[in-house]
């Protein structure tokens, strides 16, 4: 297995910006995900790694080898395309065998490897089928087998699950992860689905408009979002704007209105951000980190408001609480507690360690 390094890579399409200054190091054997909304440059970045585009600036390294301008057929990569790109005039077997035939392996060897690959994706016995005789999920797995059978150094997947329905998507997601762990291949995965990214990845790169927003483990990305975009794109979040009132003893106090002040911790300030007293600041609070407070409880991070929306989902009870001008989303696991109705008063407690100061 091999590591991949993108060294300040940019790509322009004429005057249109594709991606800008992508600088990442993907470790050998890692499951690395590019996450972001459509048009943010995920595919462009992936295609530069595959060799279908050449960067306008920067270099791409596979291990110690500079591959920036190496044509795709010399890179030894396995790629799964969004539409699978299976060859419609070839059978399942011939599709999977294609890369091995290119490598001029013996018939015997090809047969063994293809059979093993088909078995790996649970398609043994389907070798003679035509592509249009397969379901979407099966086609997906043929594409995966075709990419894996050549024992690539790097596996590239561009939104491989987006054409499947919800249930199949979940099954295939588990399957891909299993194969990746089994084979230990360095994997770069492109998706716009944050749940998929969170569930599968060792690390995630969040992108927007061709620019990196944050790189980190799923926990880092979720718990310590760098900025408003990351906080809102991944999971649900309360994004509030207030004024820094006091910074004292590793604690920061922020005022949102005349009767609402929150205290957070200095360690939860986004990197490369400094807060100054009297300036505006954006904070993010995850709905599930908010607790219900006892009616008699009082303290600095306790607020009271009227329930504007009450939603019982079975797993949880979700509230939107009106606090003066502002609204706060909260989510409580359903433990059989009383469900507050619209208009009732609700007291909420926001733990200091759950308040994140965004950059």
């Amino acid at each position: 297995m091999i590591s991949v390094k993108l060294d300040h890579v940019s790509k322009m399409f004429g005057t249109v910006k594709g991606v800008e200054d992508i600088d990442i190091h993907i470790r050998s054997g890692e499951f690395f995900t590019f996450l972001g909304p459509s048009g943010c440059g995920k595919t462009t970045t992936l295609r530069m790694i595959a060799g279908f585009y050449y960067p306008t600036e920067g270099r791409i390294m596979f291990g110690e080898q500079d591959v920036t301008y190496l044509p795709p057929n010399k890179r030894n990569i396995g790629m799964v395309f969004q539409n699978y790109a299976l060859f419609p005039h070839l059978t399942v077997f011939e599709n999977v065998a294609f890369g091995l035939q290119v490598r001029k392996q013996s018939k015997q060897e090809i047969k063994e490897k293809v059979d093993r690959a088909l078995k790996l994706v649970h398609l043994d016995g389907y070798g003679n089928r035509r592509i249009d005789q397969l379901s979407g999920g099966q086609q997906q797995r043929v594409a995966l087998a075709r990419a894996l059978v050549i024992e690539p150094q790097i596996l590239l997947l561009d939104e491989p699950l987006s054409n499947l329905d919800a249930k199949l998507r979940e099954e295939t997601r588990v399957e891909i992860k299993r194969l990746q762990l089994e084979l230990g291949v360095t994997t770069i995965y492109v998706t716009h689905d944050q749940a998929e990214a969170m569930a599968m990845s060792d690390r995630i790169m969040v992108m927007k408009n061709g620019v990196i927003q944050q790189v980190g483990t799923p926990q880092e990305i979720y718990n310590r979002p760098n900025n408003e975009f990351v906080a809102s794109f991944i999971g649900e979040s309360n994004l509030l704007e207030g004024i820094v009132e006091e910074i004292h003893d590793q604690q920061i106090r922020v005022r949102f209105s005349s009767d609402w002040v929150l205290t957070g911790l200095q360690e939860n300030v986004a990197p490369k951000t400094t807060l100054t007293k009297g300036e505006k600041v954006k904070i993010s609070i995850r709905p599930e980190s908010i607790r219900e407070a006892k009616t008699e409880e009082n303290g600095e991070n306790i607020v009271r408001g009227k329930v504007a929306l009450s939603e019982f989902t079975g797993v949880s009870v979700n509230y939107i609480t009106q606090i003066g001008e502002l609204q706060l989303k909260s989510m409580f696991i359903n433990l059989g507690n009383r469900v507050y109705q619209r208009g009732e008063e609700l007291a909420l407690s926001i733990p200091k360690e759950s308040v994140y100061f965004l950059g």
Binding site: M79, L86, V102
Partner: protein
Amino acid sequence: MKSGSTFTPSTLRRRTSFTSSPYFVYVLVSPLFLVLLAYVIYPLFQTFIESAQIDGSFSLQNYKDFFSLGNSANLEALWTSIYISVFSVITCGIVGVGMAFLLERYEFPGRKILSVLVMVPMALPPLIGVLSFDFLYGKSGIIPRALQALLGLDQVPFSLSGIGGVLVVHTFTMYTYFYMTASTAIRGLDPSLEEAAASLGANRFYIWRRIILPMLTPAMVASALLVFMIAMASYTAPLVFGVERTMTMQIYLSRTNGDLDMAATQSTILSVVSILFLIIMRWYQNARNYQNMSKGVSVHRTEVKSKVGKYISMALSILGVVILLLPILVLIILSFSEDGSWTVEILPTKYTFAHYIELFTDSETWKPIANSLEMSSLATIGNIIFGVAAAYAAVRLKFKGKTLLDILIMVPWALPGTVVGINLIAAFSQPNVFSFNQVLVGSFWIIPLAYFVRHLPLVFRSTSATFMQMDVSTEEAARSLGATWWYSFRRVVFPMAFSGILVGALLAFVQGIGEFVASILIYSADTTPMSVAIFQRMYAFEFGTACAYGSLQMLLILIVLFISQKIQGNSNITI
């Protein structure tokens, strides 16, 4: 209940039970089959009868004569027709597919203009295309003479004649069939397939061999069958380049020599070959097709970057543009030339506007134009009525025999024009029920009927394409609002399909204006159409007038193409 009410339950029930009976649909479609029977099947059958009868009794003597080795003219003609067709397929394939790849995959100076002009051969009426090639490259053509003068040679360095000439003309006029299917297929090729192959380690050559060529095969086989059929039916090119030993020419010669039995025999054999090809083509179209697996993908054209490549591609583009435009140009130049002013010179020496004035002022010259307009209009009206009804039946109604309807409509399209002419002569030289007890041959009606038959599929196909895209529920909505079938057809179905109908009708109309092959067999002095007039003027050495007629035809075709393009652009109809 009032007895005077029209909508008593009982009348209502009776009416519904009649129109909703499973047999009612056959009442609706039987006129369509009747028309096909009368003007397609019956004439075909009459020709066969004529070929298989000698003095009123059954005999295969004509076929024995045809295949006898003693008189080899017929066999030679069959053989020549076949090998001209095979070579036409090869040359058209090379030119058409090559052009398609060049224009779809590469970016070079001159690509845009070339990709517009590449369809020019489609805009040339059949006779005009051949004549302009003769003017340009024939024995006393402009280019050979110009080269001779330029290089100071004793004789012309080359000239088109005989089978070589036929092949060149076929290549020029028929490569567009390959070009169109190939470029659609290339555009339909999903570029991610090539990328997938590259990511698996395949180089350019390997990708071509294993991915691109196999995927283009269906399109290429389909066009090969089509070109073969059209080349077999070709009549004008052998006529102008003097190749008498082809099937179509033999039929024409038998007919003019009065040997109707032999003409019928030759026709029948050619019909069999054509219909066979039609069946193979239909069967093949239903076989596999790899296109459009994924939609909306666009390929980036590879830019020709090297300096040498740029110059070469520019030179080739210019050459292509010149070759494509010369036929039109020469036609226009000659249409202004004074008759008799072009004998041994490279270009005519005297020019005049008189021919165009003559076209519209001299009643003798105007007559063929009027004839063509009138006869083609009549045929087109027939095509519209039949085509719309047949398309509606084929797309919207359920009945047994739909495939038969479809095939019967395509048969006249597969039949060579020469054969259609012979068939009509065989059927309508005597009065019969289908001709309302008239002798049609020699009358005014025979040519409109020939046009109607030859262009039967045009309105049908464009209209059924629009019907297929139309949502059935619009018609159902109209019916649910209380409209009768006829009312909803008039107010909803017809207006919605109008653009499709118009495109097909315009096409049928211009094809009628340019029709030559069947006309030459059945025209009479009073009904001479434009193409036959061009032919006559040519052989009277009145090149100017002939070319003025030709320019007029071309202008009409260009107008129609322009309108169709506009309509299709607006509503995405594809024929």
